[in-house]
Structure formats: structure tokens, C-alpha cells
């Protein structure tokens, strides 16, 4: 399904744009050349030879030296509505997504109350049609109220438009319940996204278990708390011939568990977050709860390297921010007491470009590919610049340096793991579902011809 068929967005004007002499990179459609990108009536009309496209009344953006990619897709965002609108809502969260170059996001269901009924889904979809800057899809919980005990009415939820299911924020501890959900998936469809953690191993842990937690005296969450659950659920999915998506991989052992399952033919996909790809628990020595307290926790260098290797070999098919907004009063407390989570939508691409592409760890094309890889696990068409497609385009200046937080955030919350960092690479324009969803204020667009 195309993004706009399955997701909801505020109706607006279709874009008429020419991105003049843009460096176009679309690893999926195998495009890598300089073109005039012609966006007409919300569609990619043409990739013309540089300088040759007829503006034909469209707004012309002088894009020489700038990069045009298929816009990104994030399958893991916390929009916090209903119940925690002081942290984020559909409007602010999708604005943050647009500012980060995203043309689609999936919202998690761990709200207050959790999204567990068809009425919840319908109400959220209505909100999205009223105020979402980019298409947004909603997951419903797997179990009623995220209690981990009884399944939600998954068929009705799907009929109401739930894109998939997740109890994210909490694991499904009971293997029997997990198995029933996987069996039931054959009836209702929809991928099941899993927060993998064994609370009996995590206990009261607040960071990765290892030398740093030992030095700080902070209770640790061992990597096996995650990886043993990944292995369990991969086993169940294989047995039931069902499909799962593993969220926010953090540990080397988990990457290996997914790799092994894939090799055995299990229908399993996996995501990694920018903060797990860029940071290790060494930064937690600062005990800064604003930037470095999240679950799963930042792990060690060997884990980070395993995630990068997973990105390279396709074990990890997508990057997901796990954008988790919190207000200062939930973070201005000692590390162990602080709320889990960091924001990431506005910085994901720039951070990964700065930390992984510029040093040569991964190719730009691989980053762009994985930034859009989150659509397919949820049966959505991935964004592409191929002519004829709906226009989902992000225009970036890969040389632009900016300091995160300096100009505030589109998100309602400021708990960015990148706060204060200087990043290289900036989103200038985002076109999502054929509409201009974002343009950087300081970036002057060309004059309409």
C-alpha cells in the first residue's frame, strides 16, 4: 500500500517544485546522478537533465550542491497522545518528523490510556487528518491495556486502520500470550513489533550492565535481558510461521539472534536507533539523564559495532528513532529516577551522517536506504524518487553545520540525545505525500518563475 492509502495526513496543497541541479540519490530505484527533480501536482513528474526542466509555473529551488533523497520513514515514534500531550502530540510530533526529513512515521500505542480499541484508533486517525504534517500510522497494543495478559480485538483494530501491533515500552513476558498473538496474526494480519526485554533480568536496572555501571554503582540491564527474548520470539515466530519486527536492537547478542533467525527462514525484521549506532555507555559516566537515559540502554563499543555490521549486511533493515519526548521535570532528577527516552526525529539523519558517513564507517547510500527501510516491514511502499511516484523527497545540505537545540525544537520536548552537539548535514526541505511539509526558515527558496 502507498503511504497515503494506509496512513493519515492533513490535506493540503500539492507541491509544484523544481529542484534544479540536485544531486539525486535513491539507492532503491538505483538512481545516482544530478537532475532537475520536477515535482508536479504532488508527484515526481520527471528527473530531467540538469538545468533543462521547464519550470512551468512551479517554484524553482536552486539545488546545485544539495542532495535529494527519498524522504525517510520512521517505524518507531512516541507521539504521546492521548494522555501525555504536555510531552508531544500529533501536530508537534509530525512537525518534528517533517523537520527531520521524514515522509511517514508510525506512532506507538503506549499512551494513557494505551491504544487498545477501534475507537482509539479512529480518534487518532481523525487527529492526524486534522493536524499531521506528514503521514502517520498508528499501532495498537497487542494485549489489552499493555497488561500482557489478554489479546486486543486485533481484527477489529485492523479494520479500524491499525497499521500493526506493539506493546512497545513493555515486553510481552508471557511466552504463551506471545504465541497466541502470533497465531492470531494469521487471521488479522499486521506485523507485531516487539520491545524485547526480560524484566526479571533487567530488574531495577537503569543503564547497561558492564564496567561503566560497575564504576557508577548504577544497577545494570544485562544485554542478555534483550537477546534471550529476541531468541525466544524468533523461535515462536518460526514455529507459528508468523511475522515479527524487533524494535530498537541494542546488544551484539541480539543482532546475532536476528541474523540466525533470518538464516533459518524466520520472517523477522529489525531496527536500530541512531543513539545506539552513535553512542556507547561511556557517555553515561556523566550521569546526564536528559541525553543518555533510555531503554534499551546505550551499550558497549562491541555492541555498537555489531549494530553497524547488522546495518551493513541487512540483518538490521531500518533505522528507527524511538523518538521519546519527555518534559524537563521528568528528566531534572537523578539519573536512576529519570524517565527513559530521548527525542530523535529532528536529528537522526544529521547525526548518522556526521557520526557514521563522514568518518567513512558506512556509505551515504546505505544510510539513505536504511532511513527508508522501516516501511516495508509494515507492508507499506517505501518512498522512492522514481518518476510517477508520489512525491516523498528530502533535500539536504550535507555540508551545513548546525548546533542542535540552538534554534529550539519542533518537538514539544527538548530531551534530544544530540542537544548541544554540532552536526554536519541539514534538512532544508521535506516533501511528504506530495505536500511541502517542512522548509528550513533560514533557507531561501528560489523565486517562482
Amino acid at each position: 500500500m502507498s503511504l497515503t492509502d494506509a496512513l493519515d495526513v492533513r490535506a493540503g496543497e500539492n507541491a509544484h517544485l523544481v529542484l534544479r541541479r540536485a544531486t539525486v540519490l535513491d539507492p532503491v530505484a538505483n538512481i545516482s546522478a544530478i537532475h532537475d527533480v520536477v515535482i508536479h501536482d504532488g508527484k515526481i513528474a520527471e528527473l530531467a537533465s540538469p538545468g533543462e526542466a521547464d519550470a512551468d509555473g512551479a517554484e524553482v529551488v536552486e539545488a546545485e550542491g544539495l542532495h535529494a533523497f527519498p524522504a525517510f520513514f520512521d517505524p518507531h515514534v512516541h507521539l504521546r497522545t492521548p494522555g501525555h500531550e504536555h510531552k508531544e502530540d500529533v501536530e508537534t510530533g509530525t512537525r518534528a518528523a517533517a523537520a527531520g526529513g521524514y515522509c511517514g512515521i508510525l506512532a506507538m500505542a503506549n499512551t494513557q490510556p494505551p491504544v487498545s480499541t477501534a475507537a482509539d484508533i479512529s480518534a487518532l486517525r481523525e487527529q492526524a487528518r486534522a493536524g499531521a504534517s506528514v503521514p502517520v500510522g498508528f499501532l495498537a497494543t497487542v494485549t489489552k491495556g499493555m497488561q500482557g495478559e489478554e489479546l486486543t480485538e486485533m481484527v477489529e483494530l485492523r479494520e479500524a486502520g491499525a497499521v500493526g501491533f506493539s506493546d512497545d515500552g513493555l515486553p510481552i513476558v508471557d511466552a504463551g500470550v506471545m504465541r497466541r498473538a502470533l497465531q492470531y496474526q494469521h487471521l488479522c494480519g499486521g506485523n507485531i513489533a516487539l520491545h524485547e526485554e526480560d524484566p526479571r533480568l533487567s530488574r531495577d536496572g537503569a543503564m547497561n550492565e558492564g564496567p561503566v555501571s560497575a564504576a557508577l554503582g548504577v544497577a545494570g540491564i544485562p544485554s542478555v535481558s534483550e537477546s534471550t527474548m529476541v531468541a525466544r520470539d524468533a523461535g515462536l515466530a518460526g514455529y507459528e510461521r508468523a511475522r515479527i519486527h524487533v524494535q530498537h536492537l541494542s546488544a551484539a547478542e541480539s543482532v546475532e539472534a536476528v541474523r540466525t533467525a533470518k538464516a533459518a527462514g524466520v520472517q523477522i525484521s529489525a531496527e536500530a536507533s541512531p543513539h545506539h549506532l552513535c553512542l556507547t555507555d561511556e557517555v553515561v559516566r556523566s550521569l546526564d539523564p536528559h541525553r543518555f537515559k533510555m531503554n534499551p540502554p546505550l551499550r558497549e563499543e562491541r555492541d555498537r559495532q555489531a549494530l553497524i555490521e547488522g546495518l551493513r549486511d541487512g540483518t538490521v533493515e531500518c533505522i528507527a528513532t524511538d523518538h521519546a519526548p519527555h518534559q524537563p521535570e521528568e528528566k531534572d532528577v537523578p539519573f536512576e529516577q529519570a524517565a527513559m527516552g530521548v527525542t530523535g526525529l529532528e536529528t537522526a539523519f544529521a547525526a548518522l551522517h556526521t557520526e557514521l558517513v563522514l568518518p567513512g564507517t558506512i556509505d551515504l547510500a546505505l544510510l539513505v536506504e536504511r532511513m527508508g527501510g522501516g516501511a516495508e516491514p509494515f507492508d507499506l511502499e517505501r518512498p522512492t524518487l522514481a518518476p510517477g511516484s508520489e512525491a516523498n523527497v528530502v533535500l539536504c545540505d550535507l555540508g551545513a553545520e548546525w548546533t542542535v537545540g540552538e534554534d529550539g525544537y519542533e518537538s514539544r520536548s527538548a530531551n534530544s540525545w544530540c542537544a548541544g552537539r554540532t552536526l554536519t548535514g541539514r534538512v532544508l526541505v521535506t516533501v511528504a505525500a506530495g505536500q511541502v511539509a517542512f522548509r528550513l526558515r533560514s533557507f531561501s527558496l528560489g523565486v517562482a518563475a
Partner: protein
């Protein structure tokens, strides 16, 4: 030094400076009038979110011996019980313009956060299971008085290392002073990766006879219910320091309060090798030295009317 937040932050020279200062206060303590005017007119707030006997009473007495005005706040009975956040509590207390805030808190990093919220000097009197720097300083002080130096001294820290801020601060302090430290306890109570702090790890007391100093940690009774140890009986059988395991050359230490018959046998506690009483006495002078170093020592802290330079002057002594 603006704050005392951790032992980690201190160099060997800084540790020695505090200990030297403490020596001079020990001399004051032997006089009839044990009070010096150094901090007259200045305010020290002691803010305790956890119960404490030794640390809170010795910091309070240290502030009084230095003539500071003291405000002691315990979380129980304060606005903390009404839900006031740590940040707001600190803002409130900072309005009294204290020179120092001494804080004990059940969570790691609390003192460090407080230091960012107040202009006062902040003393970490224990933050979660992270650090307890004044305890480590008084322990180093006690050993230095006995042994002259810790250089090359072998010290075994025995017991529940996992839940002990004392173990962490002391390990760092002892190592920084040149001692060789071994952490000993059941594998369930030794944090994974702790050896990267520069110590050896032993899961049994075999070899403890090599140590010059045995430092036992408090074993909390609730650890049994969490399956860290099957029973206190089994713990004591394997890790209790008693007169059989302690040889006559060895020194015995413990941060208190002791569970008699669990981590230490009664006769070990009361033996002449035990430094436990000296540790408590050292607590007062070392905490006086800490407050002095932060508020009156170093660069520009001391002023003319507070006596002559860095040497504490007893009240009633002509300056």
C-alpha cells in the same frame, strides 16, 4: 576544589592535602576548647534523604566545630514528603545563601546535579550506590595514621560490593594512594566489570591472609530475599571475618553499622586489631577538613579575620 562530589575527581595530592588538614584538626580536638572560628557567620546545610548516624552527626559536629551556622534537614518530616522535587528543595535552601550543602541521597549522581543548581559548595555525603567520598577519605586517614603510608599495602574489601558506595569510593581512594586492592565476595554481589577500576576480584577468602588490611562491608539482611545469597548463615560461613580468619598482624576496618555475627564476629570487632572506633573518630576531623578546604582553604577562601592563613586557630587564642 569547589565541590567534593567523588573520590574519582581527586588527585593523590588533593587527598593528601585534606588528610594533612585533618591532622591539624586532630590537634585542635585535643585542646579544652575544640572550636575554631573559621566559618563564623557562614551557613552549612546538611540535607539527608537517607537515614544516617555517623555521617550526618559528624558533618553536623564538624560544621559546629568550625563555628558555622548549621541547618539540618531530613527528608522525613520535610517538604520532600509533600512531593517537592530535589531541584526545588535545593532552590529553596539556596535562598538562605549557604556556603555549603552536604547531601546524602539514595540515587547516583544526585550531588553532582545539585552542584549545578546551587552556588553553594556541594559535599557528597553518599549518592546511591555510587560514591561516599568522605568515608573513603576518613578510611585513608585512619590507615595513614597507623601505617604511615598506603604504598604497596594489600587491602581486601570483603562483602556486598554490588550495593556498596563505600566499596567503590574506597577502592578508588586506596588504589590512588598506592595500595593494591582485592574485592572479595560471592559472585552475585560483585558487579560485572568492576575489575576495570584497577583491582583484583576473589570469590573466596582464600588468600586473604596475604593482606595487611581487611575491610569488611555491611551485609544487608534483605539481600537473602533477592537470592543474592541463600542465607546469612551460608554467607557468614564463607565470608565472615572472625578471629580464625584474621591473623594477628592484620588490621580490620568496617564503615558501620555492623551486623554482629554476619560480616564480622563479635570478637573480631572488639579485638585490638579493629580500627572501627578510630574510623569514627577520624570521621569528625576529616569532615572538618573537607568543609575547611572547600570554604576556607585553597585560593582566596581564607580571609584575615578568620585567622592566619590556612592554619586553624582555636577560639580564644590571640591571632
Amino acid at each position: 576544589m569547589k565541590h567534593l562530589l567523588s573520590i574519582e575527581q581527586l588527585s593523590r595530592e588533593e587527598i593528601e592535602a585534606i588528610l594533612d588538614r585533618a591532622e591539624s584538626f586532630a590537634e585542635v580536638g585535643r585542646r579544652d576548647i575544640k572550636k575554631v572560628p573559621t566559618l563564623r557567620g557562614r551557613t552549612v546545610v546538611s540535607l539527608f534523604y537517607e537515614s544516617s548516624t555517623r555521617t550526618s552527626s559528624s558533618f553536623d559536629l564538624a560544621a559546629k566545630r568550625l563555628s558555622a551556622d548549621l541547618v539540618s534537614v531530613k527528608a522525613a518530616g520535610s517538604s520532600v514528603e509533600k512531593g517537592e522535587s530535589l531541584k526545588d528543595t535545593i532552590a529553596t535552601l539556596s535562598a538562605y545563601d549557604p556556603a555549603a550543602i552536604v547531601i546524602r541521597h539514595p540515587h547516583a549522581g544526585a550531588a553532582q546535579m545539585v552542584a549545578g543548581w546551587t552556588p553553594a559548595a556541594v559535599v557528597n555525603a553518599g549518592d546511591g550506590k555510587h560514591e561516599h567520598p568522605s568515608q573513603a577519605l576518613l578510611d585513608v586517614y585512619t590507615l595513614r595514621r597507623r601505617l604511615g603510608s598506603l604504598e604497596g599495602i594489600r587491602i581486601w574489601i570483603v562483602g556486598d560490593v554490588l550495593h556498596s558506595r563505600v566499596a567503590r569510593s574506597n577502592l578508588i581512594a586506596f588504589a590512588r594512594m598506592g595500595a593494591e586492592v582485592t574485592l572479595c565476595g560471592p559472585p552475585t554481589l560483585i558487579p560485572r566489570g568492576i575489575e576495570e577500576l584497577g583491582c583484583d576480584v576473589s570469590y573466596s577468602l582464600d588468600g586473604v591472609e596475604e593482606a595487611e588490611v581487611v575491610y569488611a562491608l555491611r551485609m544487608q539482611k534483605e539481600r537473602m530475599s533477592e537470592s543474592f545469597v541463600p542465607s546469612l548463615r551460608e554467607y557468614a560461613a564463607n565470608f565472615q571475618i572472625d578471629s580464625r580468619r584474621l591473623n594477628p598482624r592484620q588490621l580490620l576496618m568496617h564503615p558501620g553499622p555492623v551486623n554482629r555475627g554476619v560480616e564480622l564476629s563479635g570478637e573480631a570487632i572488639d579485638s585490638p586489631q579493629s580500627l572501627i572506633g578510630e574510623q569514627v573518630a577520624a570521621g569528625l576531623v576529616v569532615r572538618m577538613a573537607i568543609l575547611y578546604e572547600l570554604l576556607a582553604g585553597g585560593e582566596g577562601g581564607a580571609t584575615a579575620d578568620q585567622g592566619e592563613g590556612n592554619r586553624p586557630t582555636p577560639i580564644g587564642t590571640p591571632a
